[in-house]
């Protein structure tokens, strides 16, 4: 079960390595890539955290 915790590393890598996203294109709704990429990681991280929460939860 604990293996699921590894998923929590995904947003860390995605956000702590800026060369992945420090660029202007492609734009989305007028937002440069740098901005919408990081905004997109807000719900993505929430989703991953929720998934890990469900998978590691012990129902009592």
């Amino acid at each position: 079960m604990r293996i699921w915790y590894v998923l929590l590393a995904v947003p860390l890598v995605a956000l702590l390595y800026p060369p992945l996203y420090a660029k202007e294109d492609p734009e989305l709704f007028g937002f440069p890539f740098f901005y919408w990429y990081q905004f997109a990681w807000v719900p993505l991280t929430a989703g991953i955290t929720y998934f890990v929460y469900r998978m590691t939860r012990v129902d009592s």
Binding site: P18, G30, A46, S60
Partner: protein, 521 residues
Amino acid sequence: MNPIESFETDWTALVIFILLFGVVTVLGFAAARWKRGDLDLLDEWGLGGRRFGTVITWFLLGGDLFTAYTFIAVPALVFAVGAGGFFALPYTIIVFPLVFLVMPRLWAVASKHRYVTAADFVKGRYGSMPLATAVTFTGLLATMPYIALQLVGIEFVLKGLGVSGEWPLIVAFAILAAFTYTSGLRAPAMIALVKDTLIYLTVIVAVIYIPSKVGGFDNIFASAAEALPERDTPGALIPGTPDAQVAYASLALGSAMALFLYPHAITAVLSSRSQDVVRRNMSLLPAWTFLLGLMALFGYMAIAAGISVAEPNLTVPALFRDMFPSWFFGVACAAIAIGALVPAAVMSIAAANLFTRNVWKQFVNPNVTDRQESQIAKIVSLVVKAGALGFVLFLPTKFSIDLQLLGGVWMLQTLPTVVIGLYTHWFHRWGLLAGWAVGMTVGTWIAVSQDYVPVWDTPIVGATMYTGVVALFVNLVVAASISLVFGQRWRGDAVDETEPEDYDELHETREPAPTVSAGVA
């Protein structure tokens, strides 16, 4: 165009502001009766009886971590330097997976052993009074200027409303002090409901309305791309250089690790009903992050709107004033100012918990009764806030801002003791203490010697990094070396009162902590 230094009084906005502030004041006092408990016990006054559920914890933690000052300072930084200020977004995204990993363990062990503060835990874990005192000292030191900054946040909002002078700030402070004293943690928890609703309303309206007035997001980013390189210290829309990127990532990581070590974060976590509440919240709190990201964009909207202010911290008030009708400007100002009350209250309660448990009970009167303990905490919460007010009234604002920056560096130095301590007691308590002392010294020295710029051109590594991360690295090296040298020596006398299963985050949800006089008025 001359930069704006002060505003005319906007009476409509001011009346709305005062009305909303009044509602919140009443709520703050009424909170004493909510989820009734015996407020003469520290567990009740200082942790709300450890029985906040998912919803309340969400409002409280959100209102507590995303402070009013953040809402003023982040857009101001983005306005001034561009992308560099946007690190607040990755910072407040990654903080939640990190907390998800660490904090349920602290909650579990604290609930089992009735710990109220991180220093309580450290004392139990390492049996070391000096180490617990170091953690206490760091928490108090970092919290004071942070409370002061909340008052600074209110000050800038009042400036935006065109109110000058110090008395309004003193009134706001007196209200805050009075309801914290009577209601304890219940007051900010209840006020957070109102504050958060107002903040969400303001930001959603602003994010739809303002771009429509300044030519959409295309134009907002285009104006920023044009204006930022022209600044005295040139900014950029995208952090292009490797140096800027390392600084960006290290600030995000370091700030995220520091955030949940702050006493006010730990207090809010420990006040929740169960580990499950803590864990579930970590997937719900990013809603706040999204809000903060939108607010950061206000910095660019201000550029597109041609706002010019004498100091960046006036960016948001000036933008709102420029864009909104008076009545809504009043609502927005109230949202931010009330937003300052929640963290300020939680921080002063956290500081009071720390002082009472880890200074007073430790050094002054070990036989303090439960009732005296709660009484002392209430008085300390007043003293702490009076100190913060003194900061704001008698020292330059820059002083509080610089100290708050140091606060993050300082809090990070307790990470080896508190966070690693949740997993292992391999580190020797003297190693941890030495590492802490060296980290504090190195971090403070670097920050002060380069006039409080948060990043440092680190030799050997050859990159520009967040000072706190550099100091933490030195701290860990010292702590590990000494732990290796000492080995098992002198560990026998330090009794670890915790058992490995006390930390188990997969433990079934425990009952709310028993309160001695539950149900008694």
